[in-house]
Amino acid sequence: MKRLFPHPVLSLALAALWILLVNHWTLGSLVLSLILATLIPLLSARWWPYRPVIRRPLGLIPYTLLVLRDVIVANFQVARIILFLPNDRIRSAWISVPLDLTSPEAISLLAGTITMTPGTLTADVSADGRALLVHSLHAPDPDAIRDEIKTRYESRLKRIFE
């Protein structure tokens, strides 16, 4: 069983993805989804030697809701800056965010969250993976943004992943 399904979560995700993609609940698409869910993890196994560890998977649900809410807020904030703030009053800033997270998956998720939420964008990571380079569209106070990223998102991800 373990040889056939080396990564059960990936297999389940692939099967679900295929069924959603076909959009029809038929036996044929179920069989094909199972074939894909078996073959793709087997063929791609050599590219993921380590598996992400998620300590509290249920914590991802409130986190997703929080991020979705922030994405909507982010849209209105960015729209306001674009429409009503003259270019010479936009204070863009580069911010270096030191990381407490160590798991690569958690850091990727944090980087994605930063890009999707209010006025910030992940631009780079330090070569040792201990800091993120964030660009902020309008940051009168860059330190406050760095602290918000750390308390609002990173602390939650740390509870979920580590």
């Binding site: 959603l20 960015v78 674009i82 270019n87 964008l121 780079d124 330090s126």
Partner: protein, 118 residues
């Protein structure tokens, strides 16, 4: 009830269109390539999002049942938008940015995109 839903679908489409327009206007208005990445990644998510919700509601309305494609589109959008923004930002840092404007990493290592020794 049907009329109310139709009004809601229409309102969502207008909302989505407005945000798409604002995002495109932002690309024209902002001066710096890094600033232009912001409307491209954010102001347009609500544009696409509103259109997708409108699509789900409309399909329910005409009795075609629930469509799952919208969930997939949302998923792929949230996977691809940050990644393409990251790649554009990294290319910009490497090709046309003076590394001196970047803040220090606060660790011993440099920013990953920069060539060694800068």
């Amino acid at each position: 009830m049907t009329v109310l839903l139709e009004i809601l679908v229409a309102a969502l489409l207008v909302l989505g269109g407005t945000f798409g327009l604002i995002g495109s206007f932002g690309l024209l208005k902002l001066k710096d390539p890094m600033q232009r990445l912001h409307p491209a990644t954010k102001a347009t998510t609500i544009g696409v999002g509103a259109a997708l919700v409108a699509s789900v509601l409309h399909l329910l309305l005409i009795g075609a049942g629930i469509s799952w494609h919208e969930i997939l589109v949302t998923l792929f959008l949230f996977l691809t938008a940050p990644l393409s923004a990251l790649f554009l930002a990294k290319t910009h840092i490497l090709r046309s940015l003076d590394p001196k404007v970047l803040p220090p990493t606060g660790t011993d290592a440099a920013w990953a995109t920069l060539p060694r020794g800068k």
